[in-house]
Symmetry: C2
DNA sequence: GTGAAAGCGCTAACAA
DNA sequence: TTGTTAGCGCTTTCAC
């Protein structure tokens, strides 16, 4: 059953042409007479020939693979991004090399280095942090790259992200309109520029309305740390009437904790989530959430990268895409004077949560 | 800022050795005197040299990239699998080339073909269907490959999957023990062997207990088709006291529909989901679900593939990993005589659902 | 429009 | 242990 892979020479011999001609037939690089081309294609089909991408890239210089580096392959926001880019890229017969950095700068650099060893035509990256040490690597390699989602403050290259400030604004306005004044914002980490921007948006609403300063809680990047922080919260401050989560992860953490507390949503507390997944619509109550245009982000990132690969040298593009507020039922008007009754979690609840990842 | 990438020759020259020696330092293929090795490493570091993987693979024959083909990059079950494989593979400095087939046989074949053009060392594949036409391609290429999750009935090669029969058994037993006799099983498509196996497990419980035959509904692979089918269900049959979903997608569909119907879980209907994600724990009520050991599946698949890449030629392994039932609160004892009151969905509910993807 | 030949960066075989 | 040489499969001059 096993067949030694046919090379360009085998095809050339069978079709009675030179290797160069076969190459031209497949690359479309230079015109070939229709008759010959047909013979070549037939020979190739008969032998099951497919040009070796590695070899072609080695000689030709131009690769047809692009690298994607994301913080976590298990976060649906990032994988949706990968999905969108893959779809766009494969339409132009580019292949996708993925690596994840586990939200760690040096891991990111290491992963990027091995990616670069394949001489990709370009890279799309969601940095692990604002430090973005990989930037140097990328620039030294002279490789086109696009930064997505987590765009560091001082970054001036090509970038695609949500309009995070406006997202924060919309979210906060929504809660304010419902009468909420005591809101806890659940962020992952303030070390990320996109999170800081979302907070600024929220703060600008706070200022508009002469409200108390932002009440913020940093949940980190794991479910465990989130649960721990939120539990601690109950001992630190008055119970808020609403939670505003700034990541999909934070949304999950808040929901799980509320559940432990036997708080009803939205009767006791309103919850506004971030990112928009099917489960948010399927559960009860359906979650009000800020939807980021992930697919569009992926498509735009690819479009820019594609142009750069072609050699385009226009000034960098910094694209900010609008988020939308999906009003559903986890947010409701704030009953005046309401506080939530925080009960100690039952044994069973704690077990459920402990198993989370 | 841009630096032309240094080649092995540049490093050799700078270190005052031959290219072959540099190669040996990096590949560890043959021993090199410590002193020389050090000089080489320094020179490489100074030049920012990293061996070109494509070139090395071309000459050496052995690739250090593995292909992964999955049905959907947007399904968290599959991306978790990718994550697990990536983690295991990168630990042995293999890189990951991913492609998605959109649950389509011919798409799968096309994607696989371009993957093979990179001459990967091996492939992990979750077939789009039981037809698995890609199998021929893989065998002709003589490439080691492991089939994961959707293992066709007649497939005899290396495979890793859940013990689907037992999963069905556990799920059905759980519902039966709670007194449920009128259960609707929500599957994606009976054309998939893993789904059929899960059904067999359920049926065996039905037989054990002399119950009515399996009540099954095929939801397809999109949220829309699932919603449509489920809506139709209400017109076709008596309302069940429990739903048993056989995919994470089906779980979502059932939940969303129940919500439209204003049915309370578990008071009106019990819901048993498939796959186990954070959101299932965070929502209210937390979902009882069958958990598949995704990470373990990924690790095992990699382990087998790795051995095959090394040249191992033991008889094929067919690994079946046990699933576990995570008892939470969406399943409850069946109140005798209960039926659910199916109301027409409100306008708002329909809108929410229509936006689903 | 096509063929012949050189060579991309690397590793393997053979010498030394 | 190290250097030298050939050549992986392809694309790209340079002739014709």
């Amino acid at each position: 059953m096993k067949v030694p892979p046919a090379s360009i020479k085998d095809v050339a011999k069978r079709a009675g042409v030179s290797a160069g001609t076969v190459s031209n037939v497949f690359s479309g690089n230079r015109p070939v007479k229709p008759g010959l081309a047909k013979r070549v294609r037939e020979a190739a089909a008969a032998l099951g020939y497919e040009p070796d991408r590695a070899a072609s890239q080695l000689r030709g210089g131009k690769g047809r693979v692009v690298g994607i580096v994301i913080p976590e392959l298990s976060n649906p926001f990032f994988t949706s991004l990968v999905a969108a880019i893959e779809t766009a890229a494969r339409a132009e017969s580019f292949d996708i090399l993925v690596a994840s950095s586990s939200d760690d700068d040096s891991e990111e650099a290491a992963r990027l280095r091995t990616l670069l060893a394949w001489k990709p035509a370009g890279v799309v990256i969601v940095p692990a942090s604002d430090e973005f040490p990989s930037r140097g690597l990328l620039e030294k390699a002279g490789l086109p790259f696009v930064v997505v989602d987590r765009v560091p403050q001082d970054f001036t290259g090509d970038a695609v992200s949500s309009d995070n400030f406006d997202a924060g604004l919309q979210a906060a306005r929504h809660l304010f309109e419902l009468g909420h004044r005591d809101i806890v914002v659940a962020a992952s980490s303030m070390r990320l520029q996109n999170i800081r921007e979302r907070c600024s948006g929220i703060e600008s609403v706070l200022r508009e309305t002469d409200s108390a300063p932002l009440s913020l809680i940093e949940l980190g990047f794991s479910f465990e740390s989130a649960a721990a922080r939120l539990e601690q919260l109950a001992t630190e401050r008055r119970r808020p009437t609403a939670f505003l989560a700034l990541t999909n992860f934070g949304t999950l953490g808040v929901l799980a904790t509320l559940q432990q507390w036997n708080a009803r949503v939205p009767d006791d507390v309103s919850v506004l989530g971030f990112d928009d997944y099917s489960w948010m619509r399927a559960v009860s109550p359906p979650l009000t959430a800020i939807r980021q245009p992930v697919e569009e982000m992926g498509r735009r990132a690819w479009r820019i990268l594609r142009r750069r690969i072609e050699g385009d040298s226009e000034p960098p593009e910094g694209i900010r895409l609008a988020c939308t507020l999906e009003r559903r039922r986890s947010t409701a008007t704030c009953p005046p004077g309401t506080t939530i009754d925080i009960k100690r979690p039952s044994r069973r609840d704690r077990d459920d949560l402990a198993k989370s990842n």
